[in-house]
């Protein structure tokens, strides 16, 4: 056995030992952390495990089968329409605001790096950090119960979601046409329209469709806090403990989202 082999062997074994210790440490740490979490959060493990038993019977009796009669009733259908409309309007108006905002939030083409850039970036970050449901409740108390608040909440969600993606697309463009157009002395707006927009148009279409899909998911739930859509029925049925009807509403929601997902998938493919 040569010297080289010996050194290599020792080194290999050493590295392996260190890796093992780290992995073991992580697992041990996680287990301890988990144990501590259970205590800290006061999770009654035993009681919950006990509940899993009667869970099956409860599911069979009080939840299944879903109440499809209620789910296909006229008022639920109306609220589905409302949900979809809300998502479209929220996405639409949100996108209108997001387009100029994304332009300002792109480092390479923003018309003002000192003011508009940090401002628009902050607005986008802020809009992204507010959970939609919280926002919905806030807006309902600010304005009025109903889809108005929901549309606003979804529009703000759009700014946060699509704004970031669109700004990133702007930052990835080829600056050649931008330089060319600005060399003609054009205003920043003209530069945007003639040099930037043609390049990002197709990616942005994809983002807009993707955003609508995400807004639709949010709109199905916003009704829970009174901001319009089918979520209201969900809350209602749960509050009166009608679990069959609740499952029915959940089925409608899931079908709606599945439908929108397929639709947006195909639209994005077609847009390419």
């Amino acid at each position: 056995m040569t010297n080289a082999i010996n050194t290599n062997y020792q080194s290999f074994k050493f590295n392996q030992r260190i890796r093992r210790i780290i992995k073991f440490g992580i697992i041990l740490g996680l287990i301890t952390f988990g144990y501590w979490t259970i205590i800290f959060l006061d999770i009654p493990i035993k009681r919950m495990l006990d509940m899993f038993g009667p869970l099956a019977t409860m599911l069979a009796e009080r939840v299944f089968p879903p109440d499809l009669e209620n789910a296909s009733s006229w008022k639920v259908f109306i609220s589905v329409i409302e949900t979809v409309e809300m998502s479209i309007l929220g996405a639409f108006y949100g996108t209108l605001i997001t387009i100029p905002l994304a332009w300002c939030a792109a480092w390479n083409i923003t018309p003002s790096r000192e003011i508009l850039y940090p401002l628009s970036r902050s607005i986008i970050v802020l809009c992204r950090s507010l959970p939609t449901l919280m926002l919905g409740l806030l807006l309902v108390s600010l304005f009025v119960f109903g889809p108005f608040a929901g549309i606003l909440a979804l529009a703000i969600g759009t700014i946060g979601f699509a704004g970031k993606l669109m700004a990133e697309q702007c930052e990835a463009i080829d600056m050649g046409p931008v330089d060319a157009i600005s060399a003609t002395g054009a205003s920043p707006l003209k530069i945007f329209i003639y040099a930037v927009l043609p390049q990002v148009k197709s990616e942005w279409t994809g983002i807009i469709i993707y955003n609508w899909d995400a807004r639709l998911r949010g709109s199905t739930i916003l009704g829970f806090v009174g901001a319009g859509g089918i979520g209201l029925h969900l809350r209602h049925q749960i509050s009166i403990l009608e679990y069959h009807a609740t499952l029915g509403i959940i089925c409608i929601i899931v079908i709606l989202v599945l439908f929108s997902e397929t639709l947006s998938h195909f639209c994005r493919k077609w847009a390419r």
């Binding site: 999770i43 599911l59 449901l133």
Partner: protein, 271 residues
């Protein structure tokens, strides 16, 4: 021949053929949007009960965060983070077998296990976490555990989908080489696939943890633990300054989480 081409290009009729349908489409979309706006905003909103502009501003200012409330919600904030952590971890663990089933290159049976894996993914990604939380709260009662389970169910879809895509994009040659030494399928998976997929997997896990903080913040509103419960309680009691403090705390938490997770992920990609 050239004259024919020039005539073709400058033909005003041809221009109209291309532009008119596009303008018609824009017009239709505009009409639809206006119609929906009329339906929901003009007629669907109870303008009589709408706050006046003054009232709006008054309410808005009353939301200014009452910072004295923050110590009270420090606990729930931490609880929110813990929920996000454990929910993501559970999703990460569950996504390993599901992504194995949902990847065309590793699934044992294209007829049975592949659609099964894909079904899990689709259901997980289509169902809002609030719905999962409602289900688990009904099943297990109030508390953070239903929230953790709800977050796990919601995140499993994304983790499995991206991991399955990473598995399918693996270097097939390396897998074949391991196969030719006589190793069984699982060994091939662990030795040839896992090292390639792991960095993507870890990056996505961190990304999901960040998103789950946002999700965990609202789960409390249906009783599944975290700061959401306190938020809705304060709103119900019209303590808008306290509610504002909750929102403020959540925003700070989310921004912090995003900054930290971005740093870690850039380090992962580099190293």
């Amino acid at each position: 021949m050239i004259q024919k081409m020039a005539g073709h290009i400058n033909n005003p009729l041809r221009k109209r053929n291309v532009i008119i349908p596009r303008y018609i489409a824009y017009g239709i979309i505009l009409v639809i949007i206006l119609g929906m706006s009329a339906h929901l905003i003009v007629f669907g909103t109870d303008w009589k009960r709408m706050s006046s502009i003054n009232e709006v501003f008054e309410t808005l200012f009353s939301f200014f965060p009452n910072l004295k409330f923050i110590p009270e919600i420090a606990g729930p904030l931490f609880e929110t983070t813990l929920m996000a952590f454990w929910g993501t971890l559970l999703a990460v663990i569950l996504s390993i077998p599901i992504s194995y089933l949902a990847a065309t290159t590793t699934t044992p049976s294209m007829l049975i296990t592949f659609p099964l894996g894909r079904a899990f993914i689709v259901l997980s990604r289509s169902t809002h976490e609030i719905i999962f939380a409602l289900i688990f709260v009904v099943a297990l009662g109030l508390g953070p555990l239903p929230g953790i389970l709800a977050l796990a169910c919601r995140s499993v879809g994304f983790m499995s989908k991206t991991t399955a895509e990473a598995i399918e994009a693996c270097n097939q040659g390396a897998i074949e080489a391991i196969k030719s030494t006589g190793a069984r399928k699982l060994v091939q998976f662990f030795f040839a696939v896992v090292p390639q997929v792991f960095p993507i997997f870890l990056g996505n896990a961190i990304f999901q943890f960040d998103i789950n903080i946002r999700r965990a913040a609202i789960l409390g509103m249906v009783g599944a633990g975290g700061i959401g419960l306190h938020f809705s309680e304060q709103m119900k009691a019209y303590n808008y300054d306290n509610a504002g403090a909750c929102v403020f705390a959540v925003v700070i938490l989310v921004i912090l989480g995003e900054v930290i997770s971005n740093r870690i992920r850039t380090k992962l990609i580099a190293g």
